[in-house]
């Protein structure tokens, strides 16, 4: 879109079928001109190489853990200079930068109540360096640091509940979204910007290389994560659950797991059945907790 082109451009280095640019352009569609702070990660590498910047908005990358702190500084500066009208401050950070490395800075930003929109691009592992497990990697996923082997069937521990952590900080608006529904991302960002204070949106974003799928499967697989209730799309305003994306005929989790290389071993591994049953339990629990079944 021509309007998009001015904020984020073609020619970036994302893999064919990558979910990140879809998430970024859907967010920028809602924010318009804004100030972007980016943590280290795939998005930084594909969009900000020297002389090849894909950004049409002010953009800063500092280090891995401090995107939330940098954004907080920008917001405080804009306030002090009386320049808040020039656009919102937005953080784009990966799941590792959000749930592991940068969680301290994020907690501080929430705590001080900065007027910042924090967008976590959740591709469920450190994909930039080649699929190492993060706090947001789901159980059963085979990564280079949790490889499926004779003993362990991939990652053992649960996916960290970041939306709940954001809610515990009394973030004013907390939502999850998926690249399978870009118009929904745009709507949620528009809604988030109506709140003054810290806001958190976590976007499920496909990684074709890390998940082991073809570019063509990216959107269908992302859609299956939502349709199986493994990735519930939920919205909280001032701590209250206000909207969810209902699911008609919820699908079994196997349908989401089967097309992906990172879960392939689950269908052969002696402990695979247990992990699939655990993931199905998580999905059932999500459906019950948030009332997802239509």
């Amino acid at each position: 879109m021509s309007e998009n082109m001015r904020l984020f451009g073609s020619g970036h280095g994302a893999c064919p079928g990558c979910g990140l640019p879809i998430a970024v352009k859907s967010v920028l569609e809602a924010t318009g001109p804004c100030f972007v702070a980016n943590s280290t990660g795939c998005l930084e590498i594909i969009s900000s190489q020297y002389g090849k910047s894909a950004w049409g908005v002010p953009y800063i990358h500092s280090v891995f853990e401090n995107a939330a702190a940098v954004a907080a500084g920008i917001e405080a500066a804009l306030k002090a200079l009386g320049r808040k009208d020039e656009g919102p401050v937005v953080v784009f950070a990966g799941d590792g930068a959000t749930a592991d490395i940068g969680i301290g800075c994020l907690s501080g930003m929430f705590d001080r109540g900065h007027d910042v929109l924090y967008v976590c691009l959740d591709n469920e592992a450190y994909q930039n360096t080649g699929n190492q497990q993060s706090g947001l990697t789901p159980p059963g996923s085979s990564t280079t640091t949790t490889p499926a082997g004779k003993v362990l069937p991939g990652k053992v521990k649960a996916k960290k509940d970041m939306p709940a952590i954001a809610l515990a900080h009394k973030a004013r608006y907390v939502a999850t979204a998926s690249v399978a529904f870009p118009r929904d991302i745009t709507r949620k960002v528009k809604r988030a910007l109506e709140f003054e204070g810290p806001k958190y949106i976590q976007i499920h974003s496909v990684c074709v290389t890390g998940w082991g799928i073809d570019g063509k499967q990216a959107i269908p697989v992302a859609r299956l994560a939502v349709e199986t209730a493994l990735y519930p799309l939920i919205e909280f305003e001032d701590g209250q659950l206000v909207r969810v994306r209902k699911i008609k005929d919820r699908k079994p989790v196997e349908e989401y797991l089967k097309p992906q290389r990172r879960f392939r071993h689950l269908f052969k591994h002696p402990k695979g059945k247990e992990v699939i049953a655990e993931l199905q339990r998580v999905a059932d629990e999500n459906a019950k907790k948030f009332g997802l079944d239509a």
Binding site: L20, A54, W55
Partner: protein
Amino acid sequence: MGEKLRITLGAVSRPLESLKIKTGDWGAEYPVVIEENCKACGDCVVYCPDLCIELVETGEVDEKGRKKKVAKVNYDYCKGCGTCSVVCRHDAIKMEIKEIYKG
């Protein structure tokens, strides 16, 4: 509003310099829009990860007097991921293998 700070010395990144990187030669496939099926719903525009599809006017006018539009791919940047062909609900985009990868 105060005067904007503009840095001109050292390593300065300018906006949208990525546009000079023509990623159109990455893929083995490319999308072809079947114009008679295209309803200009804009789904491919919204999903395209490389921001290289836009709706353009065909010059024709439909029965209600509205200007007809169709999806148009900018092959300078299309990496051939096939996302547009998957999300299209009207069978209006099909993927074809590039000539050099055939046979």
